[in-house]
Amino acid sequence: MFFSKHGFIFNRKSKDSLSSGLKRVILGMILVVIVSFIISTYVVTETERRDFSVRESESVIKTLSNNIISDIDKYKSLSRLIMTDDKTLIFLRSDVHDIDIGMVNDARYSIMEILNVTEGVDSVIIFREDMKMVATNRFSYNYDYDLMNTDTWKTDIYTGLGKAVVSLNSNKIATKQDGSPVVTIGRAIFDIDSQERTGILLMNISPKIFNNLLLELRYDDICIMGSDGTFLSGNEDYAKYYKKEFSEKGLTHKNIKIAGKNMLLSSGRIEGLPLVILRVSAYQTKGIPTKMVVILLFLLLIFIALAIYIAMFIRKNISEPIMEMSSSMDENRQSGELHKISVPVPNDELRILENDYNSMIDHVNELIDKLMEKEKNLQKAEMRVLQEQIKPHFLYNSIDTIGYMALDAGARDVHGALETLGSFYRNFLSKGEKEIPLSREVWIVKDYLSIQKLRYGDILDDVYDIAEDTKDLIVPKLILQPLVENCIYHGIRPKGERGTIKISSRLSDGNLHIIVRDTGVGMSTDAIEKVLSAKKNEAEDLDSESFGLWGTIERVRYYSGKEDIVRIRSEIGEYTEIEFII
C-alpha cells in the first residue's frame, strides 16, 4: 500500500498536469502563429514582387513605345519632305507620255539625296495613279505585280487621306529578297494646287533602327514583333512566346517558366503601329516589402516572448507551489505526524489553500488529543474498577480464616490447598507490578500446577531446572503461567496419559533462555508456523490454543522490542518445547 502511494507521488508530473498541458498549448500557439506568419509573408511578398515587376514592365514598355513612336514620327516627317521634293513632283505631275527614264532617275536621285541625311530607310517607292513607279534600292526587292495592280493593298492608305499609315513589308507588294522584314510607312499623295490625289508613297524602314534604340536604352530583355508575328528586333529567344491576342490588347502580363524559373511575360501593342513589344523579366527582390516583413517578424517575436512568459508565470506561481505544498503534505502523511506546512507561496489563492489545510491539521490534532485524553481517562477508570474488584486483602484474609477452620477440623490437606491458593494469588497479583524476578514467576507456576493437580488428579509431574544466575533476572509477569496452562489443556490432557512439564532457564550469549517443555500431543509444523507469523489482525483466525500462545509471544516481543524471541520445537505425539530468548 505504501509503495503504491510512493509511485503515485513520483508520477504526479503526468501528462495531465497543468504545467505540461500549458506547455503543449503554448507550443501549439507558437507553431500556428509561425506557420501563418510564413504563409502570409510569402503571399504578400509574392504579390508585391509581381506587382512591382508588372509596374516596371509597364513603364519600360511605355518608354519604349514612346521612343518608337517618336522615331516613326521622324520618318513620317521625312516622307512628307519627299512628297514635296521638286523632282518627285515633276514625276507625279507629268503626263504619262512624257515620262522617260531620265525623269525617273532624276526623281530617284533627288529622293536618295534627301535620305542621305537619315539612317534606317531601306527604300522609298512612289507610285503614280497609273502605277508608274520610282523606287530606291529597287533591286533588293521582289515585286508582286499581280497584287500591285489590284486596289486591295491601297485601301488602308487611301482611308488615311494623306496621313501616314504604318504597316509591314510594303503591304506585301514588295518583299526583301533576303526575307528580312521591314516597317512600311504609306501615304497617299495629294497635289498641293489641285488637291487631287496623284499617287502613293511607301517608305520601308529597316528594323535595325529598333536595335539601335534598344542598345541605346540598354534593354536586353525585350523583343519587338510585328503584329503578324514576325520577329523584328531585340532578343529573338522570346519570339516564341508571341501570341496573336497580344496585338489586340493594350498591355498583358502572364507568368511563364523559363528553365524552371518563374518569369513575368509582359506584352504591349504600340498605339497606332502594327508593332508589339514583348518583355520577359525575372521577379526581383526589389519588390519585397521589407519593412512590412520586419514589422511582422518583430510582432512574432513579441508574441513568442509573451507566450513563454505566461508559461513561466503559471509554472512559477501555480504549478510549482502546488507541487511543493503537495510534497510537504505528503511528508506529513508519511511521517504520521501532522505538522502544519509552511511553503512560501506567491499568491493569495494558494495562501488560502495552505491556511485551510493548516487549520484542518490543527483541528485534526485537537481531535486526536481529545481522543487520547479520553482513552487515558477511560483506562485509569478501568484500572480503578479492576483494583476494586480484586481487593486482595479480603481474599487473603478469607483464605487464611478458612485455612484455620480446616486445620481446626483436622483437614490438613484442605489447609495445604488453601495455602497454595493464597500463595498463587499473592504472586499472581504482585501488587500490580508488570515485571517480576524470574524466581517469582516460577513460584506462580509451581502454585498453579499444584492446584491444577488437585483439580484433575495426578495427571502430571512438574520439573524445574532454573539456573542460579537467572533467578533474579526481571521478566514480564505471567509469561510462564499461560504457557503451562497451554501445556495442560492442549498438550497433556488430550493425550490421556500422565505427562511431564519441565521448566528450565539459563544464561547464554548474554540472553536469558527460558524453556517450557511438555510431553503432550505436540504441535504440527503448520500450527507452529501460524502462531509465529500471525499478525494482529489475523490473530482472531487462530484457535483458542494458538491464540493464548500467540498473545504471550506478542507480549514478550513488545517487552523486548524484538521480533525474533521465540523458538518452538515439537514432535507430534511426543513433545512440545517453547523457548523464549529475552
Binding site: L454, R455, Y456, G457, Y489, R493, P494, K495, G496, E497, V521, G573
Partner: protein, 244 residues
C-alpha cells in the same frame, strides 16, 4: 411416586462431580444421582445405560464440550431435562447454546439453594411428561428377523463415529431405544453397549500392537476421550494400554 428421578452429572472435574453429589439433599427431593461422566464422549456412551431424567452439563469439557453434547442429547432424548453449568468467564461461550432447548443455565460456583430451586421446578415439569426411557412402545413394531443382523452390520461399519450410541441407532432403524435394547440382548445375548465396546476394543488392540499412541487409537476407534478410552480398554483387556 415411588420411583426416584434419575440424575446424571457430566463434568470434567472429579471434585465438582463429587461436590454435586455430596452437597445436595437428593433424598428429600425424591431424586438420586445415578451416574456421572467426565466428558461428552463418555456421556454419549453411557447415557443409554444410565437412563437419566435430568442431566447437569458443564460447558467446558475436553473432546466433546457441553454445547455439542447438548445438541446431540436434545435430538436423541427429547424429554431429557438439561441444566447447563458454566463459569463466569465462559459466559460468552455459553450464549452460543441459548438457542438450544435447555431447561436452565447456572453459574459456577454453584450455590446449593439455587440448585435446589431449579430441581424443584424440574420435578414439576417431569410430573407432566413421560419418561424417555418408557418400557411400553415398540411392541407394535413388526418383528423383523434380520433387523438385528442389519444393526450389527451398521455398528461394525460405523463404530469409529464417536457420536454413535443406542438411541442413535434406534432412531436410524425406527425402533424405540428400550425395544432395540431388549431385542438386541435377546437376539445376541449381549448388551448393545457391550457389543459396540467390544468391536471398538478389538480394533484398539490391533492399533496398540501396531504401536499407536493411546490418544491416536482412541480417536481412531470412536472414543476420542483417551481417559474414558483408557478405562474401557482396561475393563475389556484387563491391562493398561501402555502395558500392551
Amino acid at each position: 411416586m415411588d420411583e426416584k428421578y434419575r440424575v446424571m452429572v457430566i463434568d470434567d472435574e472429579e471434585s465438582a462431580r463429587k461436590l454435586m453429589k455430596a452437597a445436595i439433599d437428593w433424598d428429600s427431593l425424591g431424586m438420586e444421582v445415578v451416574g456421572e461422566a467426565a466428558s461428552g464422549i463418555e456421556a454419549i456412551n453411557t447415557i443409554d445405560d444410565i437412563k437419566p431424567d435430568i442431566a447437569f452439563v458443564d460447558i467446558s469439557m475436553p473432546f466433546m464440550d457441553g454445547i455439542e453434547f447438548t445438541k446431540l442429547a436434545t435430538e436423541r432424548y427429547p424429554n431429557l431435562i438439561i441444566i447447563i453449568m458454566t463459569a463466569i468467564d465462559q459466559f460468552e461461550y455459553a450464549r452460543k447454546c441459548v438457542s438450544l432447548p435447555v431447561f436452565e443455565y447456572m453459574l459456577k460456583p454453584l450455590v446449593r439453594s439455587e440448585v435446589t430451586d431449579v430441581l424443584i421446578k424440574a420435578k414439576e415439569k417431569l410430573a407432566d411428561i413421560k419418561s424417555s426411557w418408557g418400557d411400553d412402545d415398540g411392541k407394535s413394531i413388526p418383528e423383523e428377523s434380520n433387523s438385528t443382523e442389519m444393526i450389527k452390520k451398521y455398528v461394525r461399519d460405523n463404530f469409529s463415529d464417536s457420536k454413535l450410541n443406542l438411541a442413535f441407532v434406534a432412531q436410524q432403524f425406527g425402533f424405540s431405544s428400550s425395544y432395540l435394547s431388549r431385542k438386541f440382548k435377546a437376539d445376541t445375548g449381549k448388551n448393545f453397549v457391550e457389543y459396540l465396546t467390544e468391536i471398538r476394543m478389538k480394533k484398539a488392540v490391533k492399533y496398540a500392537e501396531k504401536g499407536y499412541k493411546m490418544y491416536q487409537t482412541a480417536a481412531e476407534v470412536g472414543i476420542p476421550d483417551p481417559n474414558y478410552f483408557g478405562r474401557c480398554f482396561k475393563k475389556y483387556t484387563g491391562k493398561n494400554y501402555s502395558d500392551m
